[in-house]
Symmetry: C2
Subunit: 229 residues, 2 copies
């Protein structure tokens, strides 16, 4: 095989460029939400897409992902994990570009101010269940991110990145139920969580019109392999 053949429009890019696309999840109002942007220009104008951008020459791929997150949601210290690289030739119809996708988790959206950039018309949270057609191959990326999140929820303590500093066990169980999309048994859930020794007591709820729950916090947020289910 030789270098020069086919696809004249691609010829100017001797090798392919690379970009990062982000799947940023947060639990909002009892639903799993993901951050989406509305495209302002050209081939997907007006359509929704995952946020992302080109990798610059002076930054590593991980740094690019973190920079993009910082630009969009204004924070730095959240869980970030590389997912998969999507490399079909025509995934972007205008130029050849490889997308390295990342998963990020936000534990609390209260202080998050979304920032749009020149390139986007709008940026917003959207419940994952309500996402329909996205631009590019972003539905595939989102699906991949969801399946990764589900499996890590089962065999790691990743849930700590989706809960605020202090939380009740009911909240924690709710997060599991939302993401795994099935009911869990309350007593078995609590037994399991306690047996894993991941959390410590942190006071109790106040001002609720029913029995207040005990609050807990994670002993550590370091990712660990634990059999949750």
């Amino acid at each position: 095989m030789k270098k020069k053949e086919k696809k004249p429009e691609f010829e100017k890019y001797e090798y392919s460029a690379a970009a990062v696309d982000l799947v940023i999840f947060a639990i909002i109002n009892g639903e799993l939400n993901t951050l989406l942007i509305k495209m302002k220009y050209k081939p997907f104008q007006g359509e929704l897409a995952l946020p992302g951008g080109r990798i610059r020459v002076y930054e590593s791929v991980d740094e690019c992902a973190k920079r993009e997150i910082k630009e969009k949601v204004g924070i730095n210290n959240i869980y970030v994990e590389q997912l998969y690289s999507f490399g079909d030739i025509k995934r972007d119809p205008s130029i050849r570009i490889i997308s390295i996708s990342y998963l990020a988790l936000i534990d609390n959206t209260d202080n998050i101010k979304l920032k749009t950039t020149e390139k986007y018309e709008e940026i917003c949270w959207m419940p994952v269940n309500k996402v329909h057609k996205l631009a590019y191959d972003h539905n595939e990326i989102l699906k991949y991110a969801l399946s990764r999140l589900k499996s890590k929820l089962i065999y790691t303590n990743i849930v700590c990145n989706l809960l605020p500093k202090k939380f009740s066990l009911s909240e924690m169980q709710r997060v599991h139920e939302i993401i795994l999309d099935r009911k869990l048994d309350k007593r078995n859930f609590r037994k399991k969580v306690f047996s894993l020794d991941l959390i410590k007591e942190a006071g109790r709820e106040e001002g609720v019109p029913h029995r207040p729950s005990k609050l807990y916090s994670f002993k550590t947020k370091k990712l660990m392999i634990v059999e949750m289910f």
Copy 2:
């Protein structure tokens, strides 16, 4: 942040180029081997490295991985899976390049003829345990590949891609023991394998100086999630 700043030597690549690196495993003489090449030129001359190459503009990333495999080992229909993308700025000291790594498994090296290319001095199998310093960040890639293989061995039927068409249960158990690096109980192993209903009988061994084993083959080589251990 602006596009043009720092690192003059990188400036000519407005965005980073991408390449594929391959971790090709095979069981040879009761050991897990990986395919390595010896570098012919420049920064890592004479050192060992994983085989790989640039992604061309007219091929997808997956196609690139398959082409590279075809070029090196001459075959097409083997198990291939993307692993992870390594994107540190200086991972290749000469230019900025992102490596998308792939895992490939060869079930039988009997008919494999290794082909070197102009770029390499040599290509050879090497037992994973005997691999020392590799060029670039290839030790890290190899380590990642090994851990992926181990975990897939535990929760999928991936072992079918490391066994010849017909095999004995002892052989199969040996592959697990080699990769997981621990002894397994023969009776429990067999019980498990039979209960998963993955294999069917396929004759018996001949010409061995001891009780001949029954041979089996996989009902399907399609990757399935099964709790092996």
